[in-house]
Amino acid sequence: MSTQEAQERLELLQGTLDLLILRTLIFGPRHGQGVARAIQETSEEELLVEHGALYPALQRLEQRAWISAKWGVSSNNRKARFYSLTAAGRKQLVKETTKWKRLSKAIARILGSEAAEG
């Protein structure tokens, strides 16, 4: 049913969203809304992240100790929870990036050859 669908979608997004969050945090601590905006803006609005889906991902990354969080004050003087990359998270980012690049290259190759054949 609906939860099942949501879980499937989540699983589909899981690896990618985690990678994007880690990547965004490489420039320094950000709060949740900042991360969402950054992903959207950097991807030139191609990727539309549902903000609500971001938080379980952040929660998960925090539990794995790849990011750490603490309450702070935003540039416009609002209280917000700021996430920053830990050393383990940085390592994970490198690993995931490499993996993602190989994966996309491989897929691109397959898709490319398919296009040639078709």
Binding site: G32, Q33, E50, H51, G52, Y55, P56, Q59, R78, R81
Partner: protein, 878 residues
């Protein structure tokens, strides 16, 4: 883990902050408040869902569910207070018994002795093969001690006297009776004890005829010497001689001797050094293994005369010495007792678990409706099971908490029961290991008694369970009966074991004493005193003090003996002078006595004469022998007028007296009962020479014996005054009647009986409760059926019989099982039974009778309720 947990509130606040930031950004882009809010919410998605995802992602859920289950479980337990109290008390008693016994096991067998590196400390054992096979702790003689000391370089060896002996210490005008231990140089070094003041004995002080020195225990230094910091080098009058104080042990220092003060042993090869009278203890030097030490010790001891003589006289027999860690040898004697008590305690816990399994089973089945409803409302079987297990765990934990209390009290009681220095350890703590054991036991019990009900509830059938009300099937009743049979069987074993020990104790306590124990009071004083090494002074003391005691009004007679019936006696070797066995050595108990000894104790004279005042120091040396010795000597011929060779002198046997009962602790014969009648010779106190007096008085304190016709007011004070007339500086250490002496000898048996009887009673009580609960439950469950039967013409008696059968049947099956079990298991008790066999019919009959009686009681009480059943009511009730 829980500390890292984020609260849901915190998460909500974060989402709120996110929305605000988004709204602000949108407003900066020109949207109005309302549009911005709507847009932010839209982009965020479902806030509630995000919160739920967060909640479920954490371990919050299972934690909350767990608490829910615990709260529900506590509510359920509160709803059935009768069941809960019964279960907690049952478990508390079972766990308490185990906690108490385990703390003794822990203190004796698991905890280290209070010495540095106790694993490197050893005592000497000897294994003998051949016809006289043995494997036991051994002491050494003077020559062997020198060999160990000088020829075993990988060991630091020391020896001590066997146990302590009473001595008189004169501090100021006051004379005190104390327990003194005699130890060699390095004794305290082997134990790793450093004195708080002064030093340990030097090798020079330990040589024969060396300077007289003493080391005080901390307690004596505090009480008698007022913790005087300048005590070192001072002299005190000990054993009638000045001794120089050279050291004070620290407050926590304990030794295997546990003496008030220590003097240098000054071991020699002659005198006491001729016998194996020294208790060795050794510490392994660094870098040496026990194997090396064993080899070295065997090489050294092989050169001793004792070992060479044994080899000469026993061709084919092999003797090997080896070290056993001090811990093991100190607890060797108690180990089987303690372990069998632990086993008995385990039985009790099993019985408690069986009872509880029966009770929880019924409880679960009563709740079938509730469980079925929960399942119908969508609870998973796992959730239902978890709920049940949590309830079991709660019960067990409550029982465990009560058990720790019970165990603490039981342990206190047990330690009060034990005489001082009975255990080789100073404290028996309820430490973390005991508590961990109790916790483990608690968890185990919850599994043990919860397993059966949990299995039955797995088979709950939804439809039939909700519909029907009668839930106790025949299968469950049989299961409960099996549990009862099992616990009754264990109870039979415990009762039989306790019964056999009780019979043994009765046998020992009612052994014909061979004298008249009533109307006798005795008092001990230490003659380990240089003044009384002189036989003339010794005789004068005896004559004057006994004469004064005879003058006390009401006193019939007074005498003195080195030892008394019920006590262990000195062991001496004598040679038979004539007949077939001429020249053969015989080991025997030996007691010096004054001429009135046999009269005063009313020991029967069988042949010849008793001692008279004429048997003085210059007269013909004489002895009186007892019946057992006479049998050994002459096989029926008259021994009076024949001679023995004792200590190099020919002594004339002038009389034969009846056997008296005495302690076998002298180990004249291996494996004899704690109280026996053995070969004994009596010698006149007046014929003891100086050397013998010094020797025997360093082991034994003689007893003054007074017989009175009736109770005499202030007799003990008058006896002390009578002694003071002869020597004002000689205190009695205490006054005893014959019952005291018998109790002291049988203390181990008495403690065993008390503990095992207590445990067996507990088992009996628990079994009775089990039968009672089974039958009471049957009555409740079958009220309707009984009502119908009675409406159809059955009498109350028939109904009672019908219901009661279940309890009686189960119990009888248990009795039979228990008897079979006892026949096999109790054979291990053979070594501690005296005067009866393992298959003792009266004991078994009593056990069976007791159980039948208790079963009938436990069955009849609940069935009495049946009489109150009104058939009309029960039928209408539905």
């Amino acid at each position: 883990m829980f500390g890292r947990k984020r609260k849901l509130d915190d998460f909500t606040a974060e989402i709120e902050a996110h929305l605000q930031l988004e709204i602000e950004r949108l407003r900066e882009q020109g949207l109005n408040e309302e549009d911005a809010r709507a847009s932010a919410r839209r982009t965020f998605g479902n806030v509630t869902q995000a919160r739920e995802t967060f909640y479920e992602s954490g371990r919050w859920v299972s934690w909350d569910h767990f608490w829910q289950d615990v709260r529900f479980g506590l509510r359920m337990l509160r709803k059935t207070p009768g069941f809960t109290v019964m279960a907690v008390v049952t478990l508390g008693l079972g766990i308490g018994a185990n906690t108490a016994i385990f703390s003794v096991v822990n203190a004796l067998l698991l905890n280290n002795l209070p010495y540095a590196h106790p694993e490197r400390m050893g005592t000497i054992y000897m294994r003998t093969t051949g016809p006289q096979a043995a494997d036991e702790r051994r002491n050494v003689d003077g020559e062997q001690w020198e060999l160990l000391r000088d020829d075993a370089p990988s060991l630091l060896c020391a020896v001590s006297s066997m146990g302590t002996s009473g001595v008189n210490l004169q501090a100021g005008s006051h004379v005190q009776y104390l327990r003194a231990g005699r130890v060699s140089a390095h004794y305290f070094d082997v134990l790793g004890l450093q004195p708080v003041l002064g030093r340990n004995f030097s090798e020079d002080e330990d040589r024969p005829h060396g300077p007289k020195t003493a080391v005080l225990s901390y307690g004596l230094w505090r009480t008698t010497f007022g913790a005087d910091p300048n005590i070192l080098g001072q002299a005190m009058l000990l054993k009638g001689e000045p001794y120089t104080i050279i050291g004070v042990l620290s407050r926590n220092a304990t030794t295997p001797l546990n003496a008030d003060l220590y003097t240098a042993l000054q071991a020699r090869r002659d005198g006491e050094g001729q016998g194996t009278n020294f208790e060795p203890i050794a510490r392994l030097r660094d870098g040496v293994t026990w194997q090396q030490a064993n080899a070295e010790m065997n090489r050294a001891l092989a050169r001793s005369l004792r070992v060479q003589n044994f080899a000469k006289n026993n061709p084919g027999a092999q003797r090997a010495y080896y070290f056993v860690p001090l811990q093991k040898s100190e607890t060797d004697m108690l180990r089987p007792q303690v372990l069998s008590l632990m086993l008995a305690a385990g039985f009790i816990l099993l019985i408690a678990c069986a009872n509880l399994a029966g009770l929880t089973l019924v409880r679960m089945l009563r709740r079938t409706g509730e469980i079925a409803t929960r399942l119908a409302l969508g609870a998973s079987p796992w959730q239902v099971q978890r709920q049940l297990w949590i309830e079991n765990l709660l019960l067990a934990l409550l029982g465990g908490a009560v058990g720790i209390e019970v165990g603490f009290l039981a342990l206190r009681g047990l330690l009060l029961l034990l005489p001082e220095h009975f255990l080789p350890v100073t404290t028996v703590p309820l430490d973390s290991r005991v508590l961990a054991f109790t916790l483990l036991l608690t968890l185990m019990t919850s599994i043990l008694f919860g397993m059966l009900p949990a299995f039955t509830t797995r088979k709950v059938d939804l439809r039939s369970s909700i519909a029907s009300r009668t839930v106790i099937g025949a299968r469950t009743a049989r299961l409960r009966q099996a549990l009862i049979a099992g616990e009754v069987a264990l109870t039979v074993v415990l009762l039989a074991a306790a019964g056999l020990l009780i019979r043994t104790l009765i046998h020992l306590e009612t052994m014909p004493p061979g004298f008249n124990p009533s109307g006798v009071i005795t008092a001990k004083a230490s003659l380990d005193d240089v003044r009384y090494h002189d036989p003339a002074a010794f005789r004068k003391l005896l004559n004057e003090s006994l004469a004064s005691m005879r003058e006390i009004p009401g006193v019939q007679n007074a005498a003195l003996g080195l030892t008394l019936p019920y006590e262990r006696a000195l062991i001496n070797g004598v040679y038979l002078k004539d007949g077939k066995e001429s020249g053969q050595g015989v080991e025997t108990n030996e007691v010096y006595v004054t001429s009135g000894y046999f009269d005063t104790l009313q020991i029967a004279l069988v042949a010849g004469r008793a001692f008279t005042d004429g048997d003085g120091p210059d007269a013909q040396p004489v002895v009186v022998i007892n019946r057992s010795f006479a049998r050994r000597l002459s096989h029926g011929a008259d021994p009076v007028g024949r001679y023995l060779n004792r200590d190099g002198k020919d002594v004339l046997i002038v009389g034969v007296v009846g056997d008296t009962v005495l302690s076998s602790a002298g180990e004249l014969h291996a494996g004899s009962a704690p109280l026996t009648s053995e070969e004994t010779i009596y010698v006149p106190a007046a014929q003891m020479d100086a050397q013998s007096l010094a020797l025997v008085h360093s082991f034994f304190q003689p007893s003054w014996i007074v017989r009175s016709s009736g109770p005499v007011e202030g007799l003990t004070a008058q006896m002390q005054r009578a002694l003071a007339k002869a020597d004002p500086n000689l205190p009695f250490s205490g006054f005893y009647d014959m019952k005291d002496l018998m109790a002291a000898t049988l203390v181990t048996q008495r403690i065993e009986v008390a503990l095992l009887a207590a445990m067996a009673s507990l088992a009996l009580l628990l079994s009775a409760v089990g039968v009672f609960a089974l039958v009471a439950n049957m009555v409740v469950q079958k009220t309707r059926e009984i009502g119908i039967r009675m409406a159809l013409g059955s009498t109350v008696g028939q109904a009672m019989l019908q219901i009661g059968r279940s309890g009686v049947g189960a119990s009888l099956l248990g009795v039979v099982l228990g008897l079979v079990l006892s026949a096999g298991a109790l054979r291990v008790m053979r070594g501690v039974l005296y005067g009866i066999s393992v298959y003792d019919v009266p004991t078994m009959a009593t056990v069976v009778f007791t159980l039948v009686l208790v079963t009938l009681l436990a069955t009849i009480l609940p069935t009495l309720k049946i009489a109150k059943i009104d058939p009309a009511n029960t039928l209408r009730e539905e």
